[in-house]
């Protein structure tokens, strides 16, 4: 029996990369998160906002990659606050007097710096420019837009999901060979 059925439903929707659902979550948690971080992180409003966006990206990555799945062990809000807490700890910031309601997360999120993220993204951007249009198209659908193989096959007019999967792996190998 799920402890957070509403949040589990929300999580399933977020996992489909539904932009509207993400925007609603962003708007819903923006104020409480900032206030929380200003309180426990001893941060100014602008720095708290920046941290909120970083935490949101970590949450996005964990949900899209399937690392965070229903049933949730804590509410989504608590999970996001926990990410904020970890981000602050990693940066050696914050008051250290955290509210007991915000436990350490059962699964600590991987936290990546913006610089690392930018460098990794740049490498792939360059490779995508070199693999040719048809490969670029299928790789973008698969990895950047989260399309499932059936949808890719339909989008690109391929005979089956299996054909799409094979094309995707051929393109991935092409990228690997470019490296």
């Amino acid at each position: 029996m799920s402890k957070y059925p509403d949040d589990d439903r929300k999580l399933s929707q977020l996992a489909t990369d539904d932009s509207q659902a993400w925007k609603e979550l962003y708007d819903e948690l923006r104020s409480p998160f900032r206030l929380f971080i200003m309180k426990y992180g001893a941060m100014g409003p602008e720095a708290a906002l920046e941290l909120y966006q970083d935490a949101m990206v970590v949450l996005y990555r964990n949900i899209i990659s399937g690392k965070l799945q229903p049933p949730l062990a804590s509410a989504l809000k608590t999970y996001l606050f926990g990410i904020g807490k970890i981000l602050l700890k990693k940066r050696n910031e914050g008051t250290g007097n955290w509210d007991d309601d915000i436990p350490d997360l059962p699964v600590a999120p991987e936290v990546e710096s913006r610089q690392d993220e930018a460098a990794r993204a740049e490498l792939v951007r360059q490779l995508l420019d070199k693999v040719g249009e048809s490969c670029r198209q299928i790789l973008e659908l698969a990895y950047l837009r989260g399309f499932v193989m059936e949808a890719i096959a339909e989008e690109l007019g391929l005979p089956s999901a299996g054909a799409a999967r094979k094309r995707k792996h051929d393109c991935l190998k092409k990228m690997r060979d470019l490296l």
């Binding site: 309180k39 906002l49 966006q53 990659s65 490498l123 792939v124």
Partner: protein, 309 residues
């Protein structure tokens, strides 16, 4: 090619965290035993992690777009001021708000305005509570009729409570009308035309523009707001082709846009979308009325504006 010996799909599943439990353990054991497989996996790692990073960056761009909606003029300040007034900030954050108030006069004015609003809310809550108390007193009064004890009559207290309620309601309404009614806003923000002498000697060709401008202001001052709106609107239509220097054109345009907005505000129903127009002016860097437009926009977005109008 060594890469052809290995299954890309398995590598992908491992690197994208789709593999769990015993399957993952078995795969890792295989990696331990096979140097070539390990190398192959490491070759795919930057690609698949880079894809995720690129996706994160796309998401970050979306986040920035959502944030822009929050960053409408003054919106961020409103939230901060609310926290400050509600006593929700820590000492450090509270002190930084107070320091900003010392340095930033406009921000200090904002805080003062919201403090008034805040106190208005408190008064309204107190009023509602008093109302409840009157109800409880009434109930008690009914109970006392069952008892033969001598009590002072309740009506003077009820009358006093009613009078207080009435006065509080009156004060709150007065506060709303004095600060948030369209008339009060127009009075606060109206910018009369500069003395003709300040604009310098005008060539005859500029006389028509100046006369139209003065005429529009006359209508405004006579509180003929729909006509003033039309007059400023017409003038704005003529300005692009008017034979005047660029400095004067900018002056007339910015003043006419601002006064047209105020005239629209005082017209019922307003002939234009007030918030959009205030937002447009607030977004024009260098517009003479940009700061006023930002403040006006916040006022228009306030629930008090709706209540007062």
């Amino acid at each position: 090619m060594p890469s052809e010996r290995y299954d890309i799909e398995t590598i992908e599943r491992y690197l994208t965290h789709q593999m769990e439990g015993s399957e993952r353990a078995e795969f890792e054991a295989r990696l331990q035993a096979d140097e070539g497989y390990r190398q192959e996996l490491e070759a795919y790692r930057p690609i698949l992690e880079g894809m995720q990073s690129l996706r994160n960056q796309n998401f970050r761009r979306q986040v920035n777009a959502w944030e822009e909606e929050w960053q409408q003029p003054g919106a961020a300040d409103t939230e901060l001021i609310e926290w400050y007034l509600n006593g929700e900030l820590t000492d450090g954050a509270r002190k930084s708000v107070e320091k900003r108030m010392e340095k930033d006069e406009a921000f200090a004015r904002e805080v003062a305005a919201y403090r008034q609003v805040h106190e208005g809310f408190d008064a309204a809550r107190a009023e509602a509570f008093r109302h409840k108390m009157v109800g409880w007193e009434k109930d008690k009064g009914q109970e006392t009729t069952l008892r033969p004890a001598h009590r002072r009559p309740l009506w003077p207290r009820l009358a006093a409570a009613a009078a207080i309620l009435f006065l509080l309601g009156l004060s709150f309404n007065w506060y709303l009308q004095a600060n948030f009614s369209a008339g009060a806003i127009v009075e606060t923000y109206y910018q009369p035309p500069l003395d003709e002498g300040i604009m310098g000697d005008k060539p005859a060709s500029a006389e028509t523009t100046s006369q139209s401008y003065q005429a529009a202001h006359r209508l405004f001052r006579q509180q003929q707001y729909p006509a003033a709106y039309e007059a400023f609107n017409n003038l704005l239509g003529q300005l692009p082709t008017a034979s005047i220097d660029e400095l004067s054109r900018t002056y007339y345009r910015e003043h006419s846009e601002w006064n047209r907005l105020l005239a629209a505000l005082a017209t019922s129903p307003p002939p234009i979308d007030l918030k959009s127009e205030a937002q447009r002016i607030a977004a024009i860097d260098g517009h003479e009325f940009q700061p006023q437009a930002k403040i006006l926009l916040r006022t228009l977005q306030s629930p008090f504006y709706n209540w007062a109008n």
